[in-house]
Each structure stands twice: as C-alpha cells, then as structure tokens.
Symmetry: D3
C-alpha cells in the first residue's frame, strides 16, 4: 500500500520556460530508459519476488523512490511549458507560412514548430507519458522474469542507459534550475548502478545463482563443445584480439577459444509439405481438384 | 556486406510436429529477448560503433551468427507446424461447438483452439516474426547507445533473459530433436554471457569507461551527498540487510549508507498559470471574456 | 513523494491456483480500463493540475490508492499461478500432440494450452503488465488534458468500464478468495463513480466550466445553426424518437431539432496539383522532362 | 450498407497552404480524440448494440456523419500541403546545414524541418491516418463494451476532449478558411456533447441502467463499507473539502465519508514457491540437483 | 459525405454460435489484410487523389462498399458469440482447474479457454476491431502514397492476401451460414483483384506511370550498371534458373544478367568521432578532463 | 547460415554532415517501406518457402543483399550526424528560448530543434531502427503468407513504394555523396521491381497459381454473380469510365459489368440477446433480480 507526501523529493524548478527542452526532457520521463520504466520494472520485480524479504523490500523501496522521480520530471516539464505557445502560434499564423517559405518568416514560428505539438493540443502545457519524440510509453519496457540475477543485470543496464541520457541532457541546457535537478538524478543513478552491482554480488554470495544464468540448469545438458567458443563470422581477424577470445572464461568453467563459423549440420532447412487447403505454394503444382 | 550459405549452423529438426509447442517457441524467435532482438541489437551496435575495430568486428561477428539462429528457429517452427490443422479444424466444425459447450466435444477441437490461429490463417504453416502470444516484434527491443559499456551491460542481460527462457522451454518438451537444437542455443548463450562479461572487463582495462557509466561525466557535477545512499521508502527494515547498504561502494568511490526517505525541498509541485486560450482549468474561474 | 507499507490495502489470496483465471484477471490489471490505467491517468492529471489544491490533492489521493490496487491484482495473479505448469507441460509432451490431434490426448494439455504462455516463459509464474490477451499496457491509456471537466468525464467513464469488467469477472469464478478481493474493487469503483460525478458537480458549481466543454470558448464563434441539430444519416426514422431529438438541449442553451443529412457546401473535395518531383499521379500525365 | 455523395458535408478549403498547421491538424483527424476515433467507436457500438432500435440507429447515424468529418479533415490537410516542399528542401540543401550550424542558415530550412517529413516522403502531400506527431491511429481508441451507459459516458468524454482540442487549434491559426471549417466541427461537438448527455438521461429514464454502472450487479455482493468512503492517502487535508467528501452520494444510495488510508488486511503479499524448473529465485538457494 | 442503409449488403447469419470460430473470423475483420484495412486504405487513397476523377471516384466507390463489409463481419462475429460464456465459465470455476491439471477436468473449460477472453470481458459478446489473436488494428495498415501505380499494386496485394485468408477460413468451418457470407466476400475479392489489375492497365495505357515506378524519375540518374542485374549472394546456383536471371527485363528497358555479390567499394563503414560530451565510446580513451 | 565482409556493398559517404537529412533518411532505413522491411520480409518468405528451390534460393539471395542495404543506410546516417549537436544545443541554451519567442533567437537553435532528438539523447549520433518521425520498426511490416504469388505481389509493391520514397529523397538533397548512394539504391529497386514481376510470370508459367489468388480454391464455391461486377456506391458516374467497368476481366474468366450498390438481403443486422450476467444493454430493461 502506498502513501503520498505533498513535498517533492528534490527541487524541480527551472530558471525559465523552455518548450524545446521540455520536449527533450520527456526522454528521461517516458522514454525506454526513463523513470516510468524503472518505476514499473522495480514494482513488478518486487510484487513477483519469491526470494528472501531483504531483496523484495529493497526492490520495492527503490521502486517507491522512482515514483517520486517521475513526479519531479513531470513537474519540471510542466513548468518548462509555462510560456504562451498560442500567442506565438498566432504570430506564426499572421505571418503566412507560405510567405515564410518564400522569404520573410519570423524565427518565433520555427521555434514553435520545434515544440512537441501535443504539449499544446493534447495536454494543454502539461507533461506527457511519452518519450522525446512522442512515442507512448509501453509496458514492454517493464522487465520482471522471476529470476533475480537476470533481472538485477537488467537493472544495472537500465541505470547505465538512464544515467548516460541524463548526462547528455545536462550538457544540452545551461538552465541552473534544470541542471540542479539533473545533478540529483545523476547522483541517484550513480547509487543505483552501485546498488544493483552490490545486489548481484550479494545474490551470488548467498548461492542463489551465477554465470551462466540460470546456473541451476544442468550444464551437461547443453552442447558443451560450443559453450566457450568465439565464432568469427567475418573476413577480418580483429575480433580475435580481445579478452573474450582467449584465457579462462569469466565463469571459471571453461577456456575461451576461437573458430571460423561453419555449418555443424547438413540440414539445408528444406521444409515438408502441408495441407493443400491452406493454398501455400507446394514443391510442385497441384491440380485444382486437390482442393476442397 | 553479407553472404548466405544454404546449410544451417546447427540441426533444427523435430521428431514430430507439435503446433502448440510451435506457438511457445515463437518467444525465443520473435519475443523481447529472442534471437531477432539480439540480431538487430548487435547489428546496430556494430554499425554505430566509433570505438576500436576489435570491438566493432566482434560485435558484428556475433550479430552475423545470430541471423543464423533466427534462421534455425524459423525453420524449426515451420516444421513443428507440419500437421494438418485444416483437417482438425474441420472436425471441430463438424462437432458443433455449441454442442461442445453443452457436452460431447472432442479433444481435437480444444487442441486446435490452443494453436496460434495466425499460424494457419496468416502464415500458412510458417513461422511468424512475433512472440509466443503473437505480439509483433518491435525495434524498441534494439539497444545501441553509442556507449559500449552501457550496451555491453545490456548484452549480458539479453543473453541472461534469453538463456533463462530457452531453459524453461527445454523443460516443456520431450521432443529429442527440439531439445537437441535448444541445447545448442543454450550453450551459445553460455558463451555469449561470458563473452560480454569479458568484453566489459576488456573495455574497463583499456580505460574506456567504468562505473558509474558514463564515467567521463565529471562526478563533482552530481549531487554527491546522495550518490552512495540507500534510501528506505517503506515501513520495513529488511532492505537494509544487504550488501548495498553498508561498506565500500562497488565502484570504490564511496561508502554505502542508509537513510529514511524524506523530502529534500519545500517545493510542493504547484504549477503556474498558462495562456487561457488553451482552456485549462486555472487556479480560479476566469470570465468567458478572457477567451479570444 | 511516495512511501510504501508492506501490508496490502485489502486481501488478495485465492482459495486455489487457477492459471486460466490468472490470464483473465490480467484485464483489470494491465488492460485499457485496468488499474494501471487509472493509476497513471490520475497521477498525470494531478501533476499537471493548475486548478485549486482541493482538486489536485483529491486526484493524487485516489492515484495513490490505485497504486495499491495494482499491487493487489499483481499479487493475486502471482498466487493464481502457483501451480506446476512445467510438470503439466511435460505430461503434454509425453503425450504427443500429433497423437492428440489423431485421438487420445489428455485434457491437461489443452488446459496448459489455455494459459498465457508468457506466464511461464517470460515471467516465471508472475503477473505481467499486460491485458488478458497479452497486449502490453500503453500510456495511450493515460488521459490528462489540463481541463478538469473534460478529464473528470473521462474518469467517470474509466470507473464505469472498469467496474463493468470486474463484475463480469466476478461471475466467471467461484473462488471465494478471488470474489472477496473483487467485491472490494467493485465497491471502490462504486465510490469512484460517485466521487467523479460529485467532482464534476463541484467544478460546475464553482464556475470553472460547463457543457459544452470548454465553455470559455466564445460560442458566437461556432457555427450556431448546427449546434443543436440531430442529423439523421440513414433510411430509418427510429433515431428521432429519443430525448436527443426534441426539447431543450441539456446545456439549456438551445433546442434540439432533427434534420436529414445533406451537404452544406458545393465543395467536392477535388485537390490541386503539387510539385512533380514528389511523383504523385497528377490530373494529366506529365512528360518525363518535367521531372528533375 | 453505406452510400457516398461527392459533396462534402461542409467547406474544407484554407485561404493558403500552411504545412506546419497541416501537421497540427492531424491531431483531430488521426489522434486519440480525433474523428477516426469517434467514427470507429460509434460504428462498433452500433454494430454490437443489443438494445432498442432507437439507440442503435441513433449511434449509427452519428457514426455515418463522422465518416464525413474524417473526409473533411483529410481534404483540408491535403490542401494545406499544396506548397512546394521539395523546392524549399532543395534550397535547404544548397545552404549547407553544417554552414547553418556555424551561422548563415536560411529560415526556409528550419520551416521545412518543422513539417511532418512523412507528409512529403510517404504520402506525397496527402494527409495521413496519424496524430500530430505521427503516431499511427490504433483501434485501442475504439470503445464498445456492450453496455450503453458505460459507452455513452465515454462518448461524452470523447466529444469533450475533441472539442477542447479543436478550440485550441482554432486559436493557433488565423486562416479564415480553416477557422470556418473548425467552427462547424466545434458546433457539431456542442451538439454531440448534448446528444450523449440526453441519451444518458433517456437510458436512465427507461430503466436500462444507472449509477453505479452496471447497476444490475447485486450491490449486496460488493464490500459495502468502502462503497461511499473517500480515502485520503496523503499528508494534506485539502482533498476533504470537496463535494465528494460529505453529503449524500450522487447515486442517492449512500453518504460520503472520509477516512485516512490504512491496510484492511494483514496480508503482506508474500508469495509461495513454484516449480524449480522455471529457475525463479526461491526463498532459499536450491542445489543444482533439484533441476531436471 | 456518407449515408447509411439499415439493410446489410449481404447475409451475415451463422447457423449456430461458435465462439472459437468468432475468434478466428476477427482476422478478416481487424487483421492486417482485413476489411478495416482495405476500407481505410481506399478512403485515404481517394481523399488524397490528385489524378483524374474516374480513378478518384472508383477508389471511393470501392471504399464505400468495404465499410459495408466491415459491417457484415462485425455482425457475423457478434452472432457467433451468442452463447453463454459466463455460464460455461462458471462450470469451469466449479470444476477446479487445479483439479483439472491433476485429472478430471471438463472439456467445456478448455473450450472456453480457447475463446478470446476480451469477447466476454471487454466487448460483452460483441466483435472487436482487432485481429484473430487480439492485436489492435493500426493505421500502419493504411497505404496511400499519392502515386496511383504504386498504390494500385498494393491494392492487388491486399485483395490477394485477403482472399487467401478467407479461403483458408472457409475450409475451417462447415457452418452453412458462415460459408454463405464467405462465398460472397471471396467473390468480391475475385472482382477486386481483377479491378485493380485493370486499373493498373488503364493507368499505364493513359501514360501516367509504368515500371519502374515512379517512371518519371530520370533513369539516367540511377546507377545503370546494376539496374538489371540479379545478384547471387549464396553458395547455390539454383536461384539463377528463373525468368529473372536472363532475357529482356519486364519493363523492356534492359537485359537481365547474373553476378556474384561483391563489394563495389573499399569503404569499410568506419565512422568518425563526435562530441565527447555525448559520452560515446571513442577510438581511443579520452581523459575525463575532455568532458564539460 | 550467414557470413559478413567488412566492405560495404556500395559507397555510403556524404560530402558533409546534415542532421536534418539524417532524420529524413531514417524513412528508407526503418520506415514501413524501408530496407529493414524488405530484409525481414524476404528472410521470412525464404525460410517459410515450401516451393521449388529456385524460388527459395532467389528469395534468400535478395534478402541477403538487403541486409547489406540496411548496413549502408545505417552507416550513411551515422556519418550525416557527425556534427556537434551538443555544442549547438548549448548555444541554444545560452540564447534563452523565451527570449527567442520574444525576438532575438538564433537560427542554430531552430535547426537543432529540427533534428530527431533521439539521435543525440538515445543513440549518441548513431542511426536508429525507426522511421523519419521516430516510430519504431515493427514486424507487422513483414509479409510471408506461404503463397508465393500473393507474396511476390507484395514484393512488387514494396519495391515500388520504396523506390518512390528514395526518388523523393533524392530531390531533397544536393549532397553528391548522398545522391551517389541513393542512385545505387534506386537502380537496385529498378531491378527488384523487374525481378518480382519476372518471378510472378515464372510462377504462373509453371502452373503454381494465377488470378484470382489463390486459384486453387474451387471457383464454383464463390458467389459467382458478383465476381466480376463493379459496384458503384456513389452519386457520380465517372467511376464507370475505366477499364475495370467493361470488357473481359483480366483473369479471362468473366466479363466486367457495372451495377448500383444495393442490399442483396433483408437482414438488418439486429442481434439476439446474451447472458444478462455480462451486463450488456438488452432489448428491454431487465429487473435486477435477473442478475446473479
């Protein structure tokens, strides 16, 4: 069960409106690696967790914090939109755009054109649960497999991609208020990368799983001769110069080797025939009488 | 540029048709963590790579192999569908389904109903580029950020989730031909988990990046006092018992601590007013005259 | 900012597992009119609200409660999945499905086939943020326009469609534990329908808006002669027998009338010509020389 | 069955081309609350209607009119695109964009960049069945539940959100031809809001349904003690000051009351264990031998 | 502008309900190649048409007919659903599904499980604007490029894929009422394939366009030496045995030839470096000082 | 199985960066008619092919070539993005956008606003598997029905729509390097249109299928009297002036005729009643007691 407090977790006030940066800031709100994604991912990982309570509670703690991050970004974007787009748009209309194509346009028009039009038409100067180009957020971004090691590895990824995007955005604005909020989110992502890496170590130390995930699958059932082999599929040899091509494997259960790609079977993938009443093209033409 | 060889990389022949397992096997073909996803992810990571050639070539090598895995799964599914669903369906029709609801139905009907109907109607006994419940594959599953450490972490995740799903499917069939192919895919996933972990080690050893990704963002610009703090947002203390709550942080740059969640600002998120001609609800009613 | 308590808001424990009802119960969790939809809709309406605090806080209160409803449904579904699908599936494999199509299949197979396969393969017996046929939840289900009257009308709709679906599901199970939870959700939907209808009355009483929404748009700017006219577009007269066809309009600003549909213009929609270098088909063939 | 007349229902001719407004006008054509949505929603409500003929015919009448509104908007957008984007784009090319970034760019370039590029590349100066940022229209916007009161409530919503968006757009252009068409659409939305409100009154007067929808569900089966209770989930008391918090409920069947949110159960949502061959993380590590 | 007549274009009455066939019949209603797709495609092609009136009117004629086909299929599906799924589902509930997995289940349960659950929960025994596995219809299925030859080729395809699917469905039922309606749709598809092929001939005879579409693009601007060359990219010679590999090209403007695939450039696709503040992985590690 | 060669199939190097053209060039990469679509379509057609080897190999040959076209476009776009967007964006920030709306903005800002923001934030100056407005590529663009004539007709369409779009783009840039690559792609599309038309001729000559597809469906089962009839559904006679309205049908099996649309049935589509526990609106109100 959840409770709400009126105060935000951290500041979310820009120095000045900026409708184009508002568009860009939708990415960490409703993009694939944005705060809605981590909020929903951690909530479902927590609610589906059948592991020890310390993992379950930790996951839900961070999920709960993330709802507050969504709140901060939504608030910041709404404030960045507190200009008067209708007014600017009216100016645009006054200055015929055809005229504009011919010469004589005003720069305001182009700027309004650079906004997300749904920030005016659909949400009336509010934020949207979408990414920076307006794709709706989808729950396909929510990952919860029931296997905590697989999922914690995803979480490290999510915090890496997320921090990367926020760092890029930090360099795309000089608004001090915006940068203040981003510096908070970047710091939390630093913690969260560390947190999930620590949780992985914890999980492995307690014997729940290890590389290759899932380690409980009996390794004698896999085709062992290709389990530690780097397969070169190209006409270059550069790819054999890395750590992945020689020495002990990272899981300590094999030795890396290199081989050229080649078929390990004579099977050319030819298919058999099926019921002619599905009207697929067969190996040889059938007379019409074969049908129904 | 790419070349094709007629022979498959490995066997893809079931002992017997099984249209319901064909439906399930769509998950590792066209699901979020299936072979199309890793094929496309690695292709785009390779083509967008601005790092050293050894990484670029390695990424494209594995991408090229993955195209062959998509081929194997597509072939296997088409072969699992080599029954005669139209015939079975006709039986179903003969045995009125209303009658069935009332009693007297035949089991064949229910089995046909358990197939993916698009395996008959749309693809005519061929595989589909979708997951096990028929959601189309989407390029939102393709991750390529330009930052190799962030992306290699994703790749470890993808190979973990993928191996997990294939291991689950291994336990859901006893068809020896299917299991033979799955044992090959599981082994390759073992290699690929190791490969990406090794590539991460290589990347860090060469000084390209490290935790927190991206490490080149000047850490003094982030709000340091919350960068190593576990924030407890619930009424339980269990979450403070893990590795993430005490000791040196995994990146070696801080010390984990624990704190109760609390607002770090007095900002309650109240918004300002905007142009009345967007007809949003304002803080106080405006007379109609305020409009246009 | 948000806080979490370990206890659920209400019971979410079934009497017995039921993987097929688990599939169906995904609809009120992750379907278009499910709890994720109202949770996200109310959160964004609250965060984008520029109206008085009593509305903003009320919206966020109910949003916060809805996060807890998502939690209850996710928990219930995970518990309904606590059977042993792998085992049943193995039985299915043992009893060749081809054999099944020919006769002799076991009922267990069909039941496993009736499950959502992603409940096994993807989430490992956990709930999924999708609807009853596995479509991912999308933020297109989130409505927040900035105009509270328009949005509260949506909220009444959402609670109506939602309650309707849960009532249907109530009749599709006899599990007492499931019905207990559903009776709680149905009661809350009763309150929420009443709550939003009361909020509409409150908003109108305070003079913020009224029919036709948005009432602040100057009505003299609309084409008044068609503003209260029911237009019959068919060969039947039945549609003129309702309340919408005669008497004072509901907004009290006009009188309903009825008319047969007819064009109010001579415009037949013919288009002009465009740049030949877009290679559209023009009114008359152009010689190739007209191109580039 | 349907018939077509060449003449439009109303004028759809702009004074002058305007490719950026064409982009924005896609919202009422192919957006979530646009004319395609109401056309499809009313068609499916009509075709699925099992209620009296007066409702069914009325719904299909308005659906048929809406097909004509889609036609008007599609025509208007195609005419707004009758500029010469290829020519302008060529100018853009001539004036190197890199040069532009360095200084010296021409305004035409930026304006072309503000268009929807698919209006040139994909539709060759024609309209598209998408919204103002290019998201494809999806049938998830089509609502038809079989329960007319639930659906008519949706229809009121749709006409409210739709009219709101068109009013916003009216203020974003000064083209008299465009405003003429919009004034017609706004007036029809005025009628349609009134029409659906009248239809709701009609439905309730005839005894088909009432609040809480569906009223035929036996209210003694819901958990009555929370059916009229406003639950405050935050640290503010503002939300208790509205009509929804005290007095008789809108349905006349209860009294509103207010309570602080609290768990009504001791259930903490802990889950049971499942088949180890799904490789989920269990409450305690299992030895590998437990697997297959 | 459009008009509606109460009578259907053709019969749409099944002999008996059949909820599983109702699920399958969604494919020609709301699937990629279903009636909604051709209805919307033809409407948009007509409304965007800048060619002669005979094409424009012909396109809108067929579009108008297709709205009536959507109506027939929607009606048929609603009638196929006139069983009592709630009752059957209740039986299912009475016969515990866990019990079912263990033995003793009833066949009715499995049949209900084979239905589309949204046919009960969401649409209350009505049709849905989705395909046979419940994917929402999307306007990405609507093709209208402004070039009639390109689009008429699409229309031939659509009528081919559509007829193929309906023929498959014809063989999957023995319900005489259903087959009667399908025999009408199949015949109309026969006409429509012929119609679009005739329209292509008409368009070419009038000089509007020809192969290669768009023929107005000056062919001397394309790289002519690869314009009629079949490129063999595999280790087999079979693909050179067809009509496409020798003789005059179909457009009469070249001669087919065969060649082995090979790079026509020395470009290995290596990329240059970009701004370090996007934190991509560069060719060589940069010191942190290079950042902001 | 597939192999990779480092060299591209053809040049992919622009004369100069151009981030706005990079956005537009996404259409032939990841749009509906782009190279990913044909690559995936041909791969699945090949893998699902049950026809003679010459077709199967030919399809996979062209599929393999298309992977290389995806590679060329991805490379070109990454190179077009080798400007310094962060720097330009910083300038934008320095010159307050609010100030811009008021006057005094810099053109660089508007240009940056015209880019696809995900080219910076998400992919760090790399290409994306999306179209020109950022919609993710979806496997719904992949067509493989098992019937080669139906599918080859689609392939002709795909190469027509694709060539049309690339020709449009050719006219939208003057960059010689870009035009060089486009002239190669246009030439290959010329070949591929010819190739699929030749393959259709080959297929028909060998007796596999013909118009109407699928020709093996017994034509006496379709409702023959409407199989060659053009149905005029409008108030204009223009549509009867084309080739499709008179003379022998294209398949040589009938004569075109023209008729006015009219119902061929008395069925008005009225539906029967269903279980009241789904709470649909019935023909007459039911007392509450009829429910559960």
């Amino acid at each position: 069960m959840f409770l709400h407090q009126r105060k935000l977790q951290y500041n979310a006030r820009p120095d000045a409106p900026d409708p184009i940066f508002a568009k860009m800031l939708q990415e960490p709100l409703g993009g694939q690696w944005g705060e809605i994604s981590v909020m929903m991912t951690y909530l479902f990982q927590g609610w589906n967790c059948r592991g020890p309570a310390k993992y379950r509670d930790m996951i839900i703690d961070i999920a709960t914090e993330e709802i507050g991050h969504v709140e901060m970004l939504a608030t910041m974007i709404a404030r960045l939109l507190e200009t008067s787009p209708v007014e600017a748009q009216e100016d645009m209309a006054k200055n015929s755009l055809v005229g504009a194509v011919m010469g004589g346009a005003r720069i305001e028009d182009a700027i309004v054109a650079g906004m997300n039009p749904q920030h005016v038409i659909v949400s009336g100067s509010g934020s949207r649960p979408t990414d920076s180009i307006g794709n709706p957020w989808t729950s396909a971004y929510t990952i919860a497999s029931g296997n905590l090691l697989a999922d914690f590895r995803f979480n490290v990824t999510a915090e890496s991609q997320g921090r990367l995007q926020v760092c890029r955005l930090y360099n795309m604005t000089e608004d001090k208020g915006v940068r203040d909020m981003l510096s908070f989110l970047i710091a939390r992502d630093t913690m969260h990368q560390n947190q999930w890496l620590a949780a992985i170590a914890d999980l492995e130390a307690e014997g729940f799983d290890e590389t290759p995930v899932p380690a409980k699958f009996p390794q004698e059932l896999e085709k062992g001769d290709v389990a530690y082999q780097f397969i070169n599929a190209s006409d270059s040899g550069e790819s054999s110069k890395g750590r992945w091509a020689k020495g002990a494997s990272v899981d300590g259960k094999g030795q890396f080797s290199v081989t050229k790609i080649k078929p390990l079977t004579d099977d050319e993938g030819m298919l058999g025939q099926v019921d002619p009443r599905t009207y697929g093209t067969p190996a040889a033409p059938v007379p019409a009488a074969a049908a129904e």
